[in-house]
Symmetry: C2
Subunit: 428 residues, 2 copies
Amino acid sequence: MSDKKRRRGDAGASATGRKYRPASRAEELRNQLKSDNEILASLRKICAAAQSSSSTSKTLTLSDLSLSSSCREVSDRDSSSVLQSIERSALDAARSILSGSGFSFDVPSRSSSNQLYVPELDRIVLRDRCSSRPFASLSTVRKATITARVLSLVHAVLLRNIHVTKRDLFYTDVKLFQDQTHSDAVLDDVSCMLGCTRSSLHVVASEKGVVVGRLVFYDDSDRIDCTKMGIGGKAIPPNIDRVGDLESDALFILLVEKDAAFMRLAEDRFYNRFPCIIVTAKGQPDVATRLFLKRMKTELKLPVLALVDSDPYGLKILSVYMCGSKNMSYDSSNLTTPDIKWLGVRPSDLDKYQVPEQCRLPMTDQDVKAGKDLLEEDFVKRNEGWVKELETMVKTRQKAEIQALSSFGFQYLTEVYLPLKIQQQDWL
Amino acid sequence: MSDKKRRRGDAGASATGRKYRPASRAEELRNQLKSDNEILASLRKICAAAQSSSSTSKTLTLSDLSLSSSCREVSDRDSSSVLQSIERSALDAARSILSGSGFSFDVPSRSSSNQLYVPELDRIVLRDRCSSRPFASLSTVRKATITARVLSLVHAVLLRNIHVTKRDLFYTDVKLFQDQTHSDAVLDDVSCMLGCTRSSLHVVASEKGVVVGRLVFYDDSDRIDCTKMGIGGKAIPPNIDRVGDLESDALFILLVEKDAAFMRLAEDRFYNRFPCIIVTAKGQPDVATRLFLKRMKTELKLPVLALVDSDPYGLKILSVYMCGSKNMSYDSSNLTTPDIKWLGVRPSDLDKYQVPEQCRLPMTDQDVKAGKDLLEEDFVKRNEGWVKELETMVKTRQKAEIQALSSFGFQYLTEVYLPLKIQQQDWL
């Protein structure tokens, strides 16, 4: 132990302690790094290719696949057209009542039996099954009433041109809604009925994402320059419909799972060395961050590279960004960003970068099960590289966090790991 | 039910549905509102008084109370002085070893038996008990080794002038630390030993707070104008030592418990009508937000008004801002903001504003117990108004969220509730 102590003591004398530690592989990899200009040149080619291919090949839609009649998706619509739709449905109800037939809403089913994974689109959409919600029926009168009330509340919100949360909506009529799950569920119904996104209804989720780097955009008419947002970054706005005029000279978007890695990248101003936009939802992606990523990808046509933990959870997070959650499948085209590249930390990186044994964590049985479940998912099966990586993870039963790279020095992530990944175009 | 339906239907026809709902008290209160200019004039007086009193009366310190020898607090120190202290402790150890007496660290005890609530300061501080951590003892050799290692790592971080997270620190030597709780605990020890804050060690927590409104500051030399941060606001930087040059023409700081209320205030640009700085940690306050609030309060000398849920949890959040958490009592002077005013939502507001019964929630037994526990806390006892409010809460067994005000219209919070509160100087 006294020997160990002495070694530790020595390490403290160097700036990072790296030299004195068994990290020769780390140094070897550092030496493989080419000049930034060389790395940037190849990056520019990739970026240009991505932009030209996305400008020539248009994104597939349901109608390209002749599915638009049998499947249902919502889209962003402006306030005035949503207001018109609501008014039309009120008039229809009034007419129906006056003609003596009472009234009823046709509500698309959002149950899993009505969901469909479309491989060509790489996302889940809704089939076209609808159910009737008549007012004059004991079993549906309550839901029909709630539906009418939510329609009227959304109408009021849109007229005022403000945004509210689901919680706000619930509190406007607790007596009727009784429980927030009831108003939330009907709100999703209303989205589907009107064929518009929840953002178009001006009902927003709270935001927790942040963005920093080579991006300029407008948030409610304030110009935001994300290279001038210090280390804290800019909080991603909850209301995507007030975000506009995205401009960027970035070569890629770096999607980061965690806060700590985001902070490292922001403090080191990684985007100055490799022009990029860095974004994180700090864990499980929220709707605002997913909308924002989708918007960036669509408008700026940049490749998206993901930096997540090497564990099933990291991959699940990627799947939410890419394929959406089953819960909101009717809105999958607006919420999902297909074609995200898995940059790291990948199971194969653990050996390639010789991450020390003690920085790897044993996978629990539950982790292994989650990994095996992922191997059955369509979005994984489609990508051979991902399958191999996942198989490695499940076989070795080892996982690791992005932070594990700190064992080679606090800035190894920004100084060696990421530059080398980019130089070698090492993503899947 | 059909009667109800019709009523709901009618409500939808007006913009907010307010007119047709039993909210006459809400209207009555709206009519009590004076002109903004009148409200602002009285606000300016309060603000000026706060600023002149805080410039004449200096903040009490431990030495004013003759407690500096028997109590211990840490302070912000610049990198070079912390580096010197670490080098000095290394030299001391070397000298001690060379003289044949081995070496040992003197570590202040952070246990609750060594903590003291100082009413004059209104916060918890550490007493002066220290314990010895000799290297040449089986029971302390591991902790002494970890202490030396953490000192050397912090030294490396400070030399590079970067910031890292506790997790980064842990991963630099998983073999030695074994579990993050071990390196975290020693990090706090090192803070106390060196008499500096954790921020001074450049070990930062991830941030989750956001700020918007009449504040300009520098985040790592980027100028941030918080009136131009759209609705999303500016993410509060994790590293407070890179925050500087705060400027503001605000009349108060509005501390908001929750995200949804923050969004309402930001979207309505409340700070344009009543010059203020709006800040939230989105629930339980994180260290970065607490440091930021303290910094604003100290440098700008503005009153802090708090908008929290009317439940024991809301008050607990206030207590963390005001008195700190017991866990970090050695750093209480930097983390705590005394003299926060409880603006709302207060238990007495529920009747005063006639919040509908169905928007109030019954308190669970656990809630009631938490409320009763709070009545025993010194920071509550010191404020008669708070005691009364808490007693009302416990007696009525009712709680309510800020969002409950939405029952009078989505913008009732910004258009009536807050302006009236400010006009009536209704805070405790």
